[in-house]
Point group: C2
Chain length 346, copies 2
């Protein structure tokens, strides 16, 4: 039986989101209308869709709606988040951005200064990364019909060889570029009215385009998958990846970089940081031969916490699961996300 | 002085929208970041942006957020509107669609059946037009933070020679493909609780892709501008066009197709139908030599009300205005839209 009404869990990015998406769209679109010829779309459900161009290169295109509450938070705002999130999606596909388009919906009565600060944040990121903004839309909804502001951003880029996560393979090492759960912890704290300063929490919202493109130039063939673990966090990305084949993804708790204040905050609330969103971290699956070099390259670019946290295995006993070796030496299954930890996280 | 808060007029599609867009985005983006090399974006503010591809063709890309209230209305719903609106934007650029991506934001508590009917409507149009849906997003906002549903749709297409409205020229005839103001009148009536059936009002929401592509194949060089007059209606499109040069656009009231029930409804409410949205009409600027043939071609495709309603003139006495010759032989200036007639029209 399907749930009768849409719940917050349907927006979690986890299993319920997948279930609703399947009912609304995926089950209704035949394969030939789920992708273009020579490209990929709903058949891969990656960070972006891929359209094959006549010159043999690929157009990568990504769309996300940003609804984060509060719209201004320690470390950023919804404008910065939209720009970084979109460019990170292109980066995760191994694509150089061509341009973005933004569609902004604002609630009547919101201060124009407030909206202007947000578009300035958004444009600051795009200017820093030299990405043109070539179009968009602007709508207003009457008071009480929208909570302040919603931004949808479309990004288009070009990749000679897009990173398609389904090309993940057994033996690949799982690399994270930095400490996880920062964005999710900061937003959750802000939503709960917890003193963020006291806890030293701050969104990690950042654009990873340049480091990713540098990695791609040097190690493209060794990078088999890349994803920015936003909604649903690291656990959700790894569970998706484990299901691409008969894989077990084994990670080691002690190797996962988490800043002490984030760990403390999660312990206090009884929340698993593996499920909290990152907005400035990339998860990579890298061939075992190149993984150490990729991590060193990340260190050299200032990502001092970049680490190999685990690997992809193919076993006959288990499959399609994520297993975490705990600090005490035990093993626990990292379940797919079943409910909503934090609504409006991004 | 700028208004301090966002008002519904800022979402009208008229002068206030332009003012807010200028403050938030246009004034802050330098020309080299407003378009890609060889392409067009914020410099033209057309139905879509244009990216030059390496094979000499052009990628056309358009993004719109659909917020229409009520989300289900006589003649369609927000899903059909999003699909038709997006494909019409591509059609207005003379582009063949490659694919679309949809980002759906739903309010917690909305019935899944309701959302499913909307995505089914959306997919029906895309299937009829054979356009793949290759990606998107799905978010949920807590109860009370969004009015039911919001859809943002991105469309990408290919054009050998995109229709750039700034190429409009004096002498061009203004052609409309069918009766105007249908969508706006139906939505306004629904919002006001007026008996829509009694008034025989119904949105004209329809996809104009095939007729537009056929016109382009036969008459591309004669079609200098094309736009679907949604928010702000015919008056807004023509005012934008008049400002592309030192133009006067002269239209004749008697030649503008308006169905009697729409005219009656507008008279009753004291509203000018020239400002009401169409969702199944295209306005074209066509070279005078080809205009009659284009209208005949439209008639042959079933657009029996397609008409030449006026022309573009270049005079030394007036410029950048739209003038309407009334039924009684007088002249009136069709002002740019200054406020919001109907919020959440599309």
């Amino acid at each position: 039986m399907f749930t009768m009404s849409v719940t917050l869990a349907h927006g979690s990015g986890g299993e319920k989101t997948q279930e609703l998406l399947t009912r609304l769209i995926l089950s209704k679109v035949p394969l030939d209308l789920a992708r273009t010829e020579g490209g990929h779309g709903l058949d891969i459900l990656d960070d972006g869709a891929i359209i094959k161009l006549s010159d043999g290169k690929y157009l990568v295109i990504t769309v996300d709606s940003y609804t984060v509450s509060p719209p201004v938070f320690p470390g950023g705002d919804i404008g910065k988040l939209a720009a970084c999130g979109t460019l990170n999606d292109l980066a995760a596909m191994g694509a150089e951005p061509l341009a973005v388009l933004d569609s902004i919906v604002v609630e009547e009565g919101v201060s124009i200064d407030f909206v202007e600060k947000i578009t300035e944040s958004m444009l600051r990121v795009l200017k820093e990364e030299n990405v043109p903004v070539i179009g968009g839309d602007l709508k207003v909804m009457p008071r009480g019909q929208l909570d302040k502001i919603l931004i949808t951003m479309t990004g288009v880029g070009i990749a000679e060889k897009p990173i398609i996560d389904k090309e993940l393979r057994p033996g690949d090492k799982i690399v994270v570029t930095g400490p996880i759960a920062e964005h999710g912890a900061a937003i959750l704290a802000a939503q709960q009215g917890i003193d963020i300063e006291k806890f030293d929490l701050k969104s990690d919202c950042a654009c990873l385009l340049r480091p990713m493109l540098r990695l791609c130039r040097k190690y493209r063939d060794a990078i088999h998958a890349a994803r920015d673990p936003t909604r649903g966090g690291l656990a959700t990305v790894l569970n998706e990846w484990a299901r691409y084949g008969d894989y077990v993804i084994l990670i080691e708790e002690e190797k996962i970089p988490i800043r002490p204040p984030v760990r403390k905050f999660c312990e206090m609330l009884g929340i698993d940081p593996l499920y909290l969103a990152c907005e400035g971290v990339m998860v990579l699956a890298v061939s075992p031969e190149a993984a150490d070099e990729v991590v060193q390259e990340l260190h050299s670019m200032g990502f001092e916490n970049a680490s190999i946290i685990g690997e992809v295995r193919s076993t006959s006993r288990f499959s399609k699961i994520v297993v975490c070796k705990t600090a005490t030496g035990g093993l626990r299954i990292v379940e797919p996300l079943k409910s909503s930890l934090v609504p409006r996280i991004c």
